[in-house]
């Protein structure tokens, strides 16, 4: 394949070689079903439990509080629906935010049809929720607060510790969608008072199709997928053993030298932002200026549309993403960009470049250089830019 500058690590990441190497035997050598009692089965069982322990210890949880799922979305669905159905005698009110991933939002909307009441908290211009609004929203009927750890589009990190504290003080469960945070930020579920936490391996150099939900011991939650006795009777289905093994290895690698890796990512991120701001006008940075994911850059280029930007970048071998309507398959641009107050026409021109462990400084320079030309070319074609020039 031709040269590829992959800057869409928030969408998914390649599986690291060390991770794949650990997975391989579980496809066709140690292929036993973990539920089987013969040796081949117990090898798989051990591998599954080892991974579970690794993941648990990474977030300061017990291994038995980790339950494997098919990914982040299943974990999100499970947390929301599972708590809702299991606690509906207690109350029917759930608090979340306007900038959650669709795995949370669409699930909340589904519950609304079933008679649950959902409060969608606003966010400020940086995408941060208002803790006072959160406090005021809690009622006697509130059973769950679900606020994402870090936003997938704009990278903003929420005040999780404060949210956890409010949840605890009010005796309400706290779930956080940490799909973008796990593997990139240190998380201690006890210190942060997190009761449930969603993760997906493919966002930290593990395989697609595997994720997990941390469920603090004692949390009352129904199963989403019922059947066999796997996952201590809480999530049925033959375990995806290679996936689970890969997730365990990936999380281990992710937290090795995390500070160093993040220092590098932040350096590249700031260089990329500076490169763009120094060379291109009518741009704006989305998300919190400092309190954001180390690898996340999200910038709006006024007067041009995101998809044509992405296609142009792709021709130069650069992979990024956009919150434009055209790339989401809907008519509206990203709900996240609208929630932080961007007008539609500006939101359409957003570009997310998410950096990862394999990106280099050369790549950042290359991207800035190519962006300058592409933005100029698309603006030259844009009737909106023309108007601005006239005004000037």
């Amino acid at each position: 394949m031709k040269k590829l500058v992959y800057m869409d690590n928030s969408a998914t990441t390649p599986v690291k070689q060390e991770v794949l190497d650990e997975m391989l035997p579980y496809f066709n050598i140690k292929y036993g079903n973990p539920s089987s009692i013969y040796s081949l089965g117990s090898h798989s069982r051990t591998a599954v439990e080892t991974s579970r322990e690794k993941i648990g210890s990474t977030i300061n949880a017990k291994g038995k509080e980790i339950f494997f799922t098919a990914g982040g979305t299943e974990a999100d669905n499970w947390a929301i629906k599972g708590v809702a159905y299991a606690n509906k005698e207690k109350g029917n009110h759930i608090i979340t935010s306007k900038i959650e991933h669709h795995g949370i939002l669409h699930t909340c909307e589904y519950l609304e049809k079933q008679g649950f009441e959902i409060t969608y908290l606003d966010v400020d211009e940086y995408g941060v929720i208002d803790l006072n609004q959160l406090k005021e929203s809690i009622t006697e009927k509130t059973i769950l607060i679900s606020i994402m750890f870090a936003n997938n589009e704009i990278g903003t990190i929420q005040p999780i510790k404060e949210i956890g504290k409010i949840a605890k003080e009010n005796g309400v469960y706290f779930h956080t969608d940490a799909v973008q945070a796990i593997g990139h930020i240190k998380i201690d579920v006890d210190e942060l008072n997190i009761d449930m936490l969603s993760m997906a391996a493919h966002k930290f150099y593990g395989p697609k199709g595997i994720g997990a939900l941390y469920i603090r011991q004692g949390v009352k939650i129904d199963s989403l997928i019922t059947g066999g006795a796997q996952e201590r009777n809480r999530r049925a289905g033959t375990e995806n053993v290679p996936g689970i093994v890969g997730m365990g290895k990936a999380i281990e690698l992710a937290y090795e030298n995390l500070d160093e890796k993040n220092e590098k990512l932040i350096y590249l991120r700031e260089k990329l932002i500076k490169g763009i701001f120094d060379n291109i006008d009518y741009v704006r940075l989305n998300g919190h200026p400092t309190n954001r994911l180390p690898g996340n850059v999200n910038i709006c280029f006024e007067f041009i549309e995101g998809e044509s930007l992405l296609l142009s970048l792709d021709m130069e071998g650069i992979a990024g993403s956009s919150g434009s309507a055209c790339t989401s398959g809907t008519l509206d641009p990203s709900h996240v960009l609208l929630s932080i107050g961007l007008p539609h026409e500006i939101a359409h021109g957003s570009l997310r470049l998410s950096l990862g462990d394999f990106n280099t400084e050369d790549e950042v320079n290359y991207v800035v250089e190519k962006l300058i030309g592409i933005v100029a070319r698309l603006r030259a074609m844009s009737p909106l830019y023309e108007k601005v020039k006239e005004v000037r």
């Binding site: 296609l311 434009s324 055209c326 844009s382």
Partner: protein
């Protein structure tokens, strides 16, 4: 996702730009929806002797504008009026279903520019009687 034709017209769009003192100018779309097409026509003897466009929009919007300009350049007004969103999409070897509105926009841009010409010059154009340039192209999905 896109055909090679679409990618070619996106990458090397034909007839980009403006025409000073154009005989007809049409602008359709809405920045809220992420697409605006502006089309400039130079018309002599009922014939479109030059055409330029500017587009704010996705890849297929740019490609559709480009293709549409190619299809009407040198054509009579009557011929241009026969261009439909389907013929634009067809000439591009098809568009993904969720992108069909881009070709609708191209058809509307042509008609809009012709309407402008027709009004300015007081020449009625058959087929434009009921034309509404503000109709939502997304309904044509």
């Amino acid at each position: 996702m896109y055909s090679e034709k679409v990618m070619d017209h996106f990458q090397n769009p034909r007839n980009v730009g403006e025409i000073k003192n154009a005989d007809g100018i049409g602008e359709v779309g809405n920045p809220r929806c992420g697409d605006i097409m502006k089309m400039y026509l130079k018309i002599e003897n009922e014939t479109i002797v030059d055409v330029k466009f500017k587009t704010f929009g996705c890849g297929s919007a740019i490609a559709s504008s480009s293709m549409a300009t190619e299809m009407i350049k040198g054509k009579t007004i009557e011929e241009a009026m026969n261009i439909t969103n389907k013929s634009v999409a067809g000439a591009l070897d098809g568009l993904p279903p969720i992108k069909m509105h881009c070709s609708v926009l191209a058809e509307q841009a042509i008609k809009s520019a012709l309407l402008d010409y027709s009004k300015k010059n007081n020449v009625p154009i058959e087929g434009l009687e009921d034309f509404d340039p503000t109709e939502d192209p997304h309904d044509h999905h």
